[in-house]
């Protein structure tokens, strides 16, 4: 017998966790002598009050969609991919190489090839940890953490010693050619008569990310492979007994996960910066963990959670601009969300389960 109805597991628990995180964040804001209600107002106006705000919110959300999906695909196979940051850095490298050295006639072809390259680079960076987990039993969490740091060194080396244009000071590539500029939401929506902000970075990658949500949903719930991944994640011994190959499933799940993280680069590197800089990922790989946990590893949940975190990021930036609350408030909120929806899940779940069982007994 189920202890709780499904809606409570899917909606109620994340909601309570979110409320707890929000309440604690409000206490933190009070603690540093600011007004939480004023802060929320500033965040809402800043992130949702104009098409400019929306443009940034959606831009961040695009990043988090990719990394959130990535974490959730690995999670379904019982793997915790904490290496999204490194995989996204490598994806950026792939995009930069494609955009810098091949003269593309049109952005659409460039986008497709860049997305493939980004996915391949990200997947390659996840491949070694995946193989070591499957073959050697080295814990994928530890190896992916190590690979994050190695990725940073690789990127640093490539930017400083190889890709930096001669005479330039900061470690970054040259600007990508004008021909492969991705259409922004402004350019996409103008023919429809909507005047979206010109200076906001949200671009066509958002549509790719939404498509990725749908593809991941199909993959996990509508294909045999997805069935195998979920079975393996639920019970490794069960899946093995049913004749599934742990090596194959671990590799495929991590490769897809790495590819999704890598593909984030079409948004932040190709769509926004239009060159590769050192800290282009801005921690999005880690936010993917919070997004996946919050979204209960379902693509639709990930979509909502990515929007929420996009709002938090843009709102937090505005807050730092207009008040004396630093941007790091968002890092605290992110930590609390991970804490309550991930690590302290049982703290919320256990009392709720008791409550539901008590109610059911009364009815019976």
């Amino acid at each position: 017998m189920e202890k709780m109805p499904k809606w409570a597991d899917v909606v109620l628990i994340p909601l309570i966790s979110l409320l707890l995180a929000a309440a604690l964040s409000a206490l933190v804001i009070l603690g540093i002598g600011e007004d939480p209600i004023e802060a929320v107002k500033t965040m809402i106006t800043g992130a949702l009050g104009s098409t400019y705000g929306w443009g940034y919110t959606l831009y961040y959300a695009t990043n988090f969609l990719f990394t959130g999906l990535a974490v959730s695909v690995a999670y379904h196979a019982g793997l915790f991919n904490i290496g999204g940051e490194g995989q996204a850095m490598l994806g950026g490298l792939g995009v930069a190489l494609i955009c810098l050295f091949i003269p593309w006639p049109h952005w659409s072809i460039a986008l497709i090839v860049a997305a493939i390259a980004a996915g391949l680079f990200g997947a390659a960076w996840a491949a070694i940890p995946a193989y070591l987990q499957a073959k050697r039993g080295s814990h994928v969490v530890i190896t992916t953490i190590m690979f994050n740091f190695i990725a940073f060194s690789v990127l640093n080396y490539m930017l400083v010693n190889v890709l930096k244009p001669q005479g330039a000071m900061d470690p970054a590539t040259a600007r990508f050619p004008e021909a492969i500029h991705l259409p922004s939401l402004h350019e996409i929506l103008l023919p429809l008569g909507i005047n979206f902000s010109k200076s906001a970075p949200a671009n066509v990658s958002l549509l790719v990310a939404i498509a990725a949500c749908f593809v991941v949903w199909l993959l996990i719930w509508r294909t045999w492979l997805g069935h195998e991944i979920r079975a393996f994640g639920k019970s490794e011994s069960g899946a093995r007994y049913a004749g599934m190959s742990p090596l194959k499933i671990t590799m495929i799940a991590m490769l897809i996960s790495g590819a999704l993280c890598g593909m984030m680069a079409i948004n932040n590197v190709m769509g926004e910066a239009e060159r590769l800089v050192l800290n282009s990922t801005e921690g999005a790989g880690f936010i993917g963990i919070a997004v996946a946990l919050m979204g209960r590893n379902h693509p639709f949940g990930v979509f909502l959670a990515a929007l929420l975190f996009g709002f938090l990021y843009q709102g937090g930036a505005e807050l730092a601009l207009w008040s004396s609350i630093p941007r790091e408030l968002i890092v605290v909120i992110q930590a609390l969300v991970i804490l309550f929806t991930g690590a302290l899940d049982n703290m919320v779940r256990m009392p709720l389960e008791k409550l539901f069982i008590a109610v059911r007994k009364e009815k019976a």
Binding site: R136, G342, A343
Partner: protein, 335 residues
């Protein structure tokens, strides 16, 4: 490279190894008891902030150290609550703790000091001063002679250079951290508490059957981990540097984690692993690139080397790193 330069590189190796060593031993206690801890970084960071902040406000570095340890213990308690009491995912809890520390330190620093997320520079009693051992050439000798210290050292005999640069002149915490190695080895392998602590990381059910509290032992281990991380963080902000800056741990918690795996969860090996990784940091700090047999090694490779070595060790090419058997698993009493 002349002899004095070599001594100086080794001297900075000792300084840079100290926080790694303390954090590594912290992780050793926790993981030997079956609690994975990827939150070493966060605990060090919050301790670095509170030690520097309190030292700046009171001018007393010892009060700073105590506050640093206390703040680290709070996060350790949170990790214990999540992973022992509520049997949550230990890795996710560690991730949350790292972010919590990264955010909250800057928020409070900005609120208290308004210096863009840093504390004021620590002066005088707000820092751990170097301990000058007897007969070593230190700041007081330089003052008495009226000449710069570097000049005096350059003229000294090689033995005196080693003694004055490498052995003397560190803060008390450095000597403490090196003493912590035999102490840890003794506690873990020479006491009843240590035996039980290791048992709880390998087979908690057996410990439970013997009538010893699994929860109590694991909380004790997490607590020791918190204290050691607290000292590591305080050392960073009040001895190695003079004050807190945002993200000042700069991945040291993860290097310590790497060292722990490299050492295969053994105290004396942890010392060598931390010295090795400290040496790599010291070399990367001093030289932009190094020529080995005509091939120039880029500084980025030096920085990445601890992580690469750890992956190689994890891959099992150089001996196999086997973590404590019950690591990462919450203990559920049979009913």
């Amino acid at each position: 490279m002349d002899f004095l330069t070599l001594v100086q590189v080794l001297d900075s190796t000792v300084r840079l190894s100290t926080p790694l060593l303390l954090a590594c031993l912290a992780g050793l206690f926790s993981e030997r008891a079956g609690i994975f801890d990827i939150g070493l970084e966060g605990k060090m960071l919050i301790a670095a902030f509170f030690s520097a902040a309190v030292a700046a406000l009171t001018g007393n570095v010892w009060l700073g150290l105590l506050s640093g340890i206390a703040s680290s213990l709070v996060l350790a308690g949170l990790h214990g609550l999540a992973s022992i009491t509520f049997r949550g995912n230990q890795l996710i809890s560690g991730v949350a703790i790292n972010f919590l520390a990264a955010g909250i330190t800057v928020l409070i620093a900005q609120d208290w000091f308004q210096q863009g997320g840093r504390t004021p520079s620590l002066i005088g009693g707000g820092r751990f001063a170097p301990v000058e051992l007897p007969f070593a050439i230190g700041a007081s000798e330089a003052e008495a002679a009226g000449r710069p210290l570097s000049q005096l050292l350059a003229e000294a005999s090689p033995l005196q250079q080693v003694y004055s640069e490498l052995i003397s002149g560190h803060s008390i915490l450095v000597y403490l951290s090196f003493l912590a190695v035999p102490l840890t080895a003794w506690v873990l392998f020479g006491t009843r508490f240590g035996l039980r602590l290791r048992a709880v990381g390998e087979n908690p059910a057996a410990v439970d059957t013997a009538g010893i509290s699994v929860v109590g032992l694991r909380f004790a281990a997490v607590g020791i981990c918190g204290v050691l991380c607290g000292i590591a963080g305080a050392y960073l902000a009040t001895a190695l540097q003079a004050g807190f800056v945002k993200e000042m741990t700069a991945g040291r918690g993860f290097i310590a984690l790497a060292a722990l795996i490299f050492a295969k969860w053994r105290p004396w090996h942890a010392l060598s692993a931390c010295l090795l990784f400290g040496l790599l940091q010291a070399l990367a700090l001093r030289f932009q690139s190094i020529n080995i047999a005509g091939v120039s090694v880029p500084v980025q490779l030096m920085e990445a080397l601890p992580y690469i070595l750890t992956v190689v060790i994890l891959a099992g090419f150089v001996g196999k790193a086997v973590p404590p058997k019950a690591g990462g698993e919450p203990y559920v009493k049979e009913r």
